[in-house]
Amino acid sequence: MATIDYPLEHPKANEPEFSFSQSLYTWVATVDHKRLGLMYITAALLFLIVAGLMAAVMRMQLAFPNGHVVGPDTYNRLFTMHGTTMVFLVGMPIVAGLSNYLVPLMIGARDMAFPRLNAFGFWIFLFGGLLLYYSYFGGGGLSGDGSAPDVGWFAYAPLTERSFSRGHATDYWALGVLVSGLGSIASAINVIATTLSMRCPGMTLSRMPMFVWVMLVDAWMIVIALPPLSAAQIMLLLDRYLGANFFNTQAGGSAVLWQHLFWIFGHPEVYILIFPAFAILSEVIPVFSRKPLFGRPAMVGAVVAIGFISMGVWAHHMFAVGMSSWSNTFFAASSMLVGVPTGIKIFNWTATMYGGKLRFATPLLFCCGFLLQFLMAGLTGIMLAVAPFDWQLHDSYFVVAHFHFTLVGGLVFGFFAGVYYWFPKAIGAMLNDKLGKWHFWLFCIGFNMTFIPLHWAGMLGMPRRIYTYAPGRGWEAWNLIASIGVIFQAAGILCFIWNVLRSARHGEPAGDDPWDAWTLEWATTSPPPEYNFEKLPVVRSSRPLWDLKHPQDPDWKFE
């Protein structure tokens, strides 16, 4: 590729001072994968705060029996918007943002395969998100007072049909998510094309960084699994606007059909959400243990296996709808089998740390938090996969606890690890490690304090999605503790926000390679120039910079 004869003047040199409006324009009009990546991440963080605050309100309402913080309608909208936002406007942009920013850098490319499509993807995603939130004003229709959807994040039919959900709230839900889904598909196709056809000389698939591998499989899953959701939402909109009967049970339509369509998307989706965390751990743990990733081929095999098995487990969300005992058994089995490749990943990460010299900077802390919490999350998942056990646990707070362990204890912890790890590359300044540790411990304590007790609430028969409960059912203590935990979580997040804002301005300069890392993104300046690389180190192994730094014993001798 044309990396070598590229003009070699220093990146900063040709950047004139911009006025605010100009620089704003350069951001809005940009097709640079790095800027788009940062915009995705920023959007995700903002939405995380919004939806997190919603969660805080929900916890206030549930802290005591007969809570009077919000009424039923408000509460139902809160958890619907909280869930929808967290999944589609926090999780998905994290996927798109990380792969946008890092994949080209890691494979030594100048940009994504389709830069303009990339920009389109971001803006359509943002538009979808805003459309969803506009429901707060337009949800009731021109006549009624506006309101957000209150049908839950998986919007089970027939509750979403016109006869049970008047106004336009549900339409905003369907349209907003549908539209932002287009963005996700666009950027997924982009990631696939980039990884398959833009790798720099010498970077064979077997040498591709683990991060890129995981994001490649992730993109593949998005391409396959998102259309079923779009299809379901199109049918729902046809029902609501043209009077079609897909989910109209009066006309013989099936309420279970929606559940199948949704979960055929929904389960792969949860792995789509956790994969960025997998990807991050696979980069951070080796660097901070000073060892190569243990069992690389097995790790690749594991993500691919997860990518396929997870397409065949969806009905484990539907054990209670009265499926035949055969389907119940099948989906219980397939769900448990996913545990095997996931276990392989956990074991290999641990083995990577084993025998290393662990440097406990903030990124590694978050990774360790991930390991233990995700272990717990996965095992509660196995309990849910045991169908008869799930008949008791389904739609109880045990499920809520399970998936917050996966999504917060897993995705969010992994994400923070990634932010602390790559912030220096993206901004050129280090995040403050002391504040980082405060962030970690506060968030870790708060998180466990919130969600461990909820397992018990669930096993004492507390159903989810209830805006209030009567005293004397054995739930008070657990809920109170859970709500107190949120205070610590919020404090942690505040440390993080403060850390980012402050370090961005007066953080200590990072230099090109602050962590003494091994993948290509650390071979260029921080922040990288428009064109990413002046010259590329030759790629002969999965750790090109290791080879550069240790000419005497390079990896490619062993691979």
Binding site: I192, A193, A225, D239, G253
Partner: protein, 201 residues
Amino acid sequence: MAEGHLVAADALSMEREWKLPDRGTIGIIFLIITETSLFTMFVAVYLIYIGKSATGPYPKDVLDIPVLATVCLLSSSLTVVFAEHALKKNELGRFKLWWALTIGLGAYFLFATGMEWRKLIYEDHLTISTNLFGSTFYSLVGLHASHVIVGLTFLSIVLAATLRGFPIQTQLRRVLFLSWYWHFVDAVWVIVFTVVYIIGR
């Protein structure tokens, strides 16, 4: 960095035998994959709802097999291939001819669908809200038709440009992708046809 230059030289030598698939190809392939996933759902739903309609009209009463339209659409897959070959051999005249023919055939298919819907709606009083058959039929066939429309639009743009004297032969790859998409639309019709007009009746 001193070794940087050595490395660069090394990279240069490596680059000669460094071949990767073309990004456009990958892009179009995965576009088709994701579209397939979408159609699969609508087809599945159609199959699930066969015979579940609470009220008439039922498929066997109102549907007649669109033989001609199907023949036209499928043969348009051939004509587009001929057009491609012509373009490869740089015979613009024949290219335009075959290309226009493709558009013609596609357009007729659309027209036929339109007439079919007209009959169903005005004579058989089957609308999307009548029963499950209506809902699934119009959505599945409509989804396919919308893809035909998209295909036709692009095909026509190419034709218009060519007639305006735009050097289309420089865009061989894009033309190729367009023809792939068109083949995809045809393939989908084969499925839709089997499901709706053969199994569904």
